[in-house]
């Protein structure tokens, strides 16, 4: 029993490893990808920096500090961006990759192999997450040098804190991949939901400034607590709920999102076999 489980697990890792290797090779063959992934965030960060400067008095964003407990808007926004890139990875890395595979015509050749279809989808997120992390670290380092971001807190604690959020996002990505299977052109939908989740989680502003109905949505997103918790650890901002409660929420949503994502994917995958893959017909 244990042996069979171990064999099974080894297989899944092998499949995910092979997908990661393949994705990385393909990534390298489009050099523009690599350049853009560094340039793009900087393009986005520069105006944020000056915006933050514009609202500051002697380098302190006073109004902003009233909401968050830090007067350093730029560091706040930068961390938000750092983490929202993981949301993108979940939405695009898994959801959109399914669509990409369908359009390219490689989905079916993958699906006729004995490999588990869940693993085939999960595998697509690994390189995206890895590149996102490397990318964010580069940007963060550049930010530190160019814009004097100073992170004072415990980075390790922050990483451990967001881990459940990342796993939850992976579950979400699996569910999105399922939906994409039966929706032919999902690019727009992915774009909009990605943007909405990112913004409502408070990537660029404290969610406490939101009007009530939107605030309710924001508070229902586990990512909101992830952002909040990491900022409090690294920047010393005040949290909306006690840190322990936020971590609890993230752990619960991790379990919930993974279960829901798996169920949604399975349901849509079944539906696909019943009705035929839209993208390939």
């Amino acid at each position: 029993m244990v042996d069979r489980f171990r064999t099974w697990l080894r297989r899944q890792f092998r499949v995910i490893g092979a997908i990661s290797r393949k994705d990385f090779l393909i990534f390298l063959r489009y050099p523009a990808n690599a350049v853009m992934s560094v340039v793009e965030p900087i393009m986005w960060l520069v105006p944020t920096y000056f915006m933050g400067l514009g609202f500051s008095v002697n380098g302190e964003a006073v109004g902003f500090a009233g909401f968050t407990g830090t007067s350093d808007y730029f560091s706040f926004a930068m961390l938000g961006m750092f983490m929202s890139s993981y949301i993108s990875a979940a939405f695009w890395g898994m959801g959109f990759s399914v669509q990409e595979d369908m359009t390219l015509g490689v989905l079916e050749p993958n699906w006729v192999t004995p490999a588990s279809r869940v693993s085939l989808i999960l595998g697509r997120s690994v390189i995206m997450l890895l590149l996102t992390t490397i990318n964010s670290i580069v940007v963060l380092a550049m930010g530190a040098v160019l814009f004097r971001v100073n992170l004072t807190g415990n980075v390790l604690a922050a990483v451990i804190t967001v881990l459940p959020m990342l796993i939850a996002l992976t579950g979400l990505g699996l569910g999105i991949a399922g939906v994409v299977l039966s929706v032919r052109r999902a690019g727009t939908a992915i774009d909009i939901s990605n943007w909405a989740v990112t913004q409502l989680s408070g990537a660029t502003f404290p969610v406490s400034v939101l009007p009530r109905p939107l605030l309710a949505v924001a508070l229902a997103l586990p990512t909101t607590y992830g952002f909040d918790a990491v900022r409090s650890i690294l920047l010393g901002t005040k949290t909306m709920l006690p840190l322990k409660a936020e971590i609890g929420i993230m752990l619960a949503s991790m379990v919930g999102m993974c279960a829901a994502g798996y169920a949604v994917f399975k349901a849509f995958e079944r539906r696909c076999r019943r009705q035929g893959l839209l993208g390939t017909h």
């Binding site: 297989r11 092998r14 499949v15 490893g17 092979a18 997908i19 290797r21 393949k22 090779l25 393909i26 063959r29 489009y30 390219l104 015509g105 490689v106 079916e108 050749p109 993958n110 699906w111 006729v112 192999t113 004995p114 490999a115 588990s116 085939l120 939906v179 039966s182 929706v183 032919r184 052109r185 999902a186 690019g187 727009t188 939908a189 079944r270 076999r273 019943r274 009705q275 035929g276 893959l277 839209l278 390939t280 017909h281």
Partner: protein, 373 residues
Amino acid sequence: MGLANAIEIDDLKRTFTRRAPNALARLFTRRRTGTGTNADGGSGAGADSSAEAGPNAAGLANNAKRPNSLVAVDSISFDIRAGEIFGLLGPNGAGKTTTIKMLCTLLEPTSGTARVAGFDIVREPARVRASLGTVLSGERSLYWKLTGRENLDYFAALYDVEPSTAHRRIDDLLTRFELTDKASELVERYSTGMRQRLSIARALLANPPVLLLDEPTAGLDPQSARNLRDVVRKLRDEGHTVLLTTHYMAEADELSDRIAIIDHGRVIALDTPTALKEHIQQLHSVEVEIDRAPDGILDELHSLPLVRGVECVQSSNGHETWTIRVLTENSRQTLDALLDLLRAEGERVLNLRVAEPTLEDVFIALTGKSLRD
């Protein structure tokens, strides 16, 4: 493998429901302005694409009028013996690809079932896939931004080829399919024939007992197609069971140990090529070449006594000529009537031939129409 039958198909049926473009899809899809949302132009999708094209309201209105389900595969049953090449022959839209997709577990049957290497396609899909090498049509099925070897490396992991032997296996397959020289080149630089060989190599990675090949020679030049047929024969000789689909009569005739002729989702004949031809041995085919498209006379020919089928093809040699083939139980009588008819219409006969029946004639005799229709 020890099983007498590699594949057992039992009352397998598949219908496709034509829904109003599903609500979810409508909600999420960015609709392009103008007509023709479906730019894919996929094979046999013609009837379907109209539902999604055009503005919403019209799409829904059209939809209400059309029949809402289509039987793609209509309760087929047959066994494929271990070690044989089995040809599934039929025109476009006959249901060949749908059958293959059910067998490789991409599609669920609407009813009925099938077993591949003894495993049930609905209840044991993973085991079925582990016993199968599937080559679906379309050269986009490989990663064009990877080399040939990288493609095989990747799929070896998915097919669970023992890591310690994968490298050798890939080398062997590259050699066997004459791809060793090009193994380090990106697939985007391959020819169509090389891509098709690589796809077959991929299907063989795990050395599966059963191979499914969907139109393996479609789009290949004659030389590559011939080489590919040699490959298929060798695979059979090595003990693989091969199920291949084709709409080329000659190919099915040349390759298959047994053939099932399929039309509108139904198997209308199943036998060895020789037996199928013997079946209509008493028939003859009369061919006349004329210099313009025959308009009304095809129907008239059809209604002549003793005539079992009529087809008309435009010559492929660039000349503006048409060949009418008439399948008849008595060539002499039909010949007279045929010439009378042509003369009455003022047609000029360029060429005339009475021939032995071909497999194509079997199809015409069975369905009253040509494979190319």
